[in-house]
Amino acid sequence: MVENLLSLAIWTPIVAGLLVLATGGDKNAGLARIVALVGALAAFLVTVPLFTDFKSLHGGMQFTEFAPWIASLNINYHLGVDGISMLFVVLNSFTTLMVILAGWQVIQTRVAQYMAAFLIMSGLINGAFAALDAVLFYVFFEAMLIPMYLIIGVWGGPRRVYASIKFFLYTLLGSLLMLVAFVYLYFHADKSFEILKFQTLVLPLSVQMLLFFAFFMSFAVKVPMWPVHTWLPDAHVEAPTGGSMVLAAITLKIGAYGFLRFALPILPDASRELAPLMIALSLVAVVYIGLVALVQTDMKKLVAYSSISHMGFVTLGMFMFAGDSLNQWAIEGALVQMVSHGFVSAGMFFCIGVMYDRVHSRNIADYGGVANKMPIFAAFFMLFAMANSGLPATSGFVGEFMVIMGAVQVNFWFAFAAATTLIFGAAYTLWMYKRVVFGDVGNHHVEEMQDVNKREFLVLAVLGVAVLGMGLVPDLFASKMHLSVNDLIAHVAHSKLK
């Protein structure tokens, strides 16, 4: 077994990104694409052993690495993953590979910079998931804003400047407060930035509340939770296809992951106290944003709102306290939902991207009867649309079902409100699907549409297999996280006030 697997997962894509940049201007675009693909493939392959060699029966962190980094501030290069974060490292490297393929022909200007931005960002995201040192986490967490800012701003749509700056400032606001919280915790943890040490701290409730607010600002913006979600539709709509895929599939998950890694275990009492608030905000996201999605005329915006609604499900599952302890169904459901949403939203955005490349419109009204011209594509699109509405046997069903199961055990009405998403989700997704794909050929643009090429087919097929596979054998993923989730629940059940 190779040592330093996590370091490889972080640095392989970053080094590959720098190599891609070194290929120079657009005259070497072909070379840049190949280097990027090889790099992304290598980066994905090094994360596969993380999944296969992960010991589901061992608690705590695995594949740990430790090296002093900034000794004068007691900051260490400390990496490790548990059953929760490991899944996201793998998911992220997988998505990056898809993104590189998705942008293969579509991106024609500044190809090297585009590919490099995604590869570097992929490494940084892996770093954020694997970091066990708070400052190391923060460095990765913040650094990924830079490539994302450029991706939206350089390759995005007409309102890209507004969207990129909004995205950057929104997320920066939250994270700066989190930084102050980290520094505060540092002095309480005997001058250490170890996240695991933070989790053992005894803190009075008033302090926990303030720290929770700081973490909330940071992670809620990233998730995004209602009412700090407004950057997401803008960013998604203006981002290029690859940018939307990464945003939806991965960066949103970092927010939810932050709640699991920081807010819940470090501040269990504040989390318990504020759970009703979190649940309320999540339900607003699920119901209200679901309704908002229904009236969208722009496909990308519709999927963006659907992402917010689905992430509302995730945060709902995370804060399902029954008495002192979290509900295991709900929290595992939230995690499954996160992974599943990674596949489904990537698939949805890719499908929209495929149509946009042909017609250059995201308006639902500009389509109609696509199935007549692109039957293969329509079949795949159907699969993702079904998964997005939570059809059984797709991955979308498993997570939602588990969260609802958990919610029923806690409070019937929570479950009832949450379950409406199954209706709204089906409504907005399938209605959009109907208007775009079925019916007569709408106009001459649709008339000229060509079915998917081999590259697009490959991406759709791989994502489709993932969606179906996860729906049929959810235990493949769930079994890896059982122990870590149980540890988390046991940890959170233990009050830190005394």
């Binding site: 400052v135 920066l172 520094v183």
Partner: protein, 482 residues
């Protein structure tokens, strides 16, 4: 005291620099314009020589000479080394710019070196008079440099403003010093500290003196409400001179503040701490908010400097060794960032064309992606985004501030950093997202040094430990026996 007792070693770099400048001054008279490279080369050689001398006389403890008027301690040593580098880099960046504008002459080199000498004396002063002498030597050289382009009305106006306001600030400083003398009976920093701590000094008079001194210091740092000169001077001076003003003098000003407030007036800390809090918060607020409204990059950088000085003051006002070393680290990193920012403006200016507004760098990424990338590094570093060096500078200061329990101050600081991020982002936006204007920006000359400078921001961002440890160690050693 006889000559034999006089230990000249601690002041060797200053003495060597003075001799070298005099030689360059005379030699330049015999050279015609085509041979200025000789004096230019000699100036760089002088800086290298000074660096070697400082390195060889660097002791891990403070050393006094000239009857306690002059001190060589690790803080001064490290800062001087950083200043040599900053001035050398300034000369290298400005070469083409100065050639194009006809001030690639002896005056430029000698005045720059004289200003460096003034900074070095400031940094090593252990007596209020020495301190003042160094400050005036620096200021007078800078006034002349700002007006170096004699036919530029803007430059002359800036120089006049700088001179008048600078003289006013010097007057306040001197007035404060005289009051301190009246209160404590001495101008020696160590004696002042002893008298204040021992309670033998006239407290009221000393406090009055303190107010004037803080006002004078705030002026030299460019902290609000004594910042008025900064935007005008930055904007009016030729960019190469702005590059100089925005670099090394900030390091000198930092040590200047530490020497007077921490080493001399530490017993009055509870009084000056409050004043610095106000100065710091106002500087961060006004600097960042006003910078948003600027379309001229030089003015924008000027306001950004004001906000950075506010942040720097946070590190000083906590008064702990952690705070001071964090502030020292911040000052060094700030100078690195500022050199990249102005260095790129200098590199993009040609004869008869000044690159100084946002429009001038539109679409830079398309024409020169390397320069754009370097500017991007500088901007994100100034905004304090990891993994760039500026992040650790801010982080270390925040840490020191939270450590003394001033969490609210840390929150104010991060909120204003967020506001500041907007205009740095706008620069990146202009370079990367906008289409180029009619005249695509072209760089002049080669820029190996600039590249090294910009990449240093990234390298120090990934491995900040070495420099941080040097700052911490230098501060510890400089304060051990005092």
């Amino acid at each position: 005291m006889s000559w034999a007792d006089l230990n000249l070693m601690p002041a060797m770099p200053e003495i060597a620099l003075l001799c070298a400048v005099s030689v360059i001054l005379v030699l330049d008279l015999f050279l015609d314009d085509a041979k200025r490279s000789i004096t230019y080369g000699l100036s760089l050689l002088t800086l290298a020589g000074c660096a070697a001398l400082t390195l060889s006389t660097l002791n891990p403890y403070p050393e006094l000479t000239f009857s306690g008027m002059f001190i060589a301690d690790p803080m001064a040593g490290v800062i001087k080394l950083a200043m040599y580098a900053a001035v050398a880099v300034t000369l290298i960046y400005s070469r083409q710019y100065a050639l194009d504008r006809g001030f690639f002459r002896g005056e430029f080199f000698t005045l720059t070196l004289f200003s460096l000498l003034g900074m070095m004396v400031m940094v090593s002063a252990h007596h209020l008079l020495t301190l003042y002498m160094g400050l005036e030597l620096l200021s007078l050289a800078l006034y002349a440099l700002v007006a170096l382009q004699r036919d530029s009305a803007r430059g002359t106006e800036a120089a006049m403003k700088y001179f008048v306001l600078g003289a006013l600030a010097s007057g306040m400083l001197l007035y404060g010093m005289s009051m301190l003398y009246g209160a404590t009976g001495s101008l020696d920093i160590a004696v002042i500290a002893k008298a204040l701590a021992g309670g033998t000094a006239n407290q009221t008079l000393a406090l009055f003196g303190l107010v004037f001194i803080v006002a004078g210091l705030a002026f030299k740092l460019g902290a609000v409400p004594f910042h008025m000169w900064v935007p005008d001077v930055y904007h009016g001076a030729p960019t190469a001179i702005t590059l100089l003003i925005g670099g090394a003098p900030k390091l000198a000003a930092f040590v200047f503040v530490v020497r007077i407030l921490m080493q001399g007036l530490e017993p009055l800390m509870m009084h000056w701490q409050g004043m610095l809090v106000i100065l710091a918060v106002l500087s961060m607020a006004l600097g960042n908010l006003t910078a948003i409204a600027q379309t001229n990059l030089k003015r924008m950088f000027a306001y950004s400097t004001i906000s950075h000085m506010g942040f720097l003051l946070l590190g000083i006002l906590v008064g702990t060794p952690e705070g001071l070393s964090a502030a020292m680290f911040y000052a060094i990193i700030y100078v690195l960032m500022s050199l990249v920012g102005f260095g790129i403006l200098v590199a993009l200016s040609r004869a008869g064309y000044e690159c100084e507004t946002l429009d001038d760098i539109k679409g830079l990424n398309k024409h020169n992606s390397w320069l754009a990338f370097m500017m991007l590094l500088a901007m994100f570093s100034m905004a304090g985004i990891p993994p760039l060096a500026g992040f650790y500078a801010k982080f270390a200061i925040l840490k020191a501030v939270v450590d003394v329990g001033l969490v609210w101050l840390a929150i104010i600081a991060v909120v204003f950093s967020l506001i500041g991020a907007f205009y740095y982002l706008r620069v990146v936006k202009t370079m990367y997202f906008d289409d180029a204007g009619e005249v695509p920006p072209q760089a002049n000359g080669t820029y190996w040094v600039l590249s090294a400078n910009a990449l240093a921001l990234l390298a120090l961002g990934v491995f900040p430990d070495k420099l941080l440890a040097i700052c911490i160690e230098a501060m510890k050693q400089s304060f051990q026996t005092l």
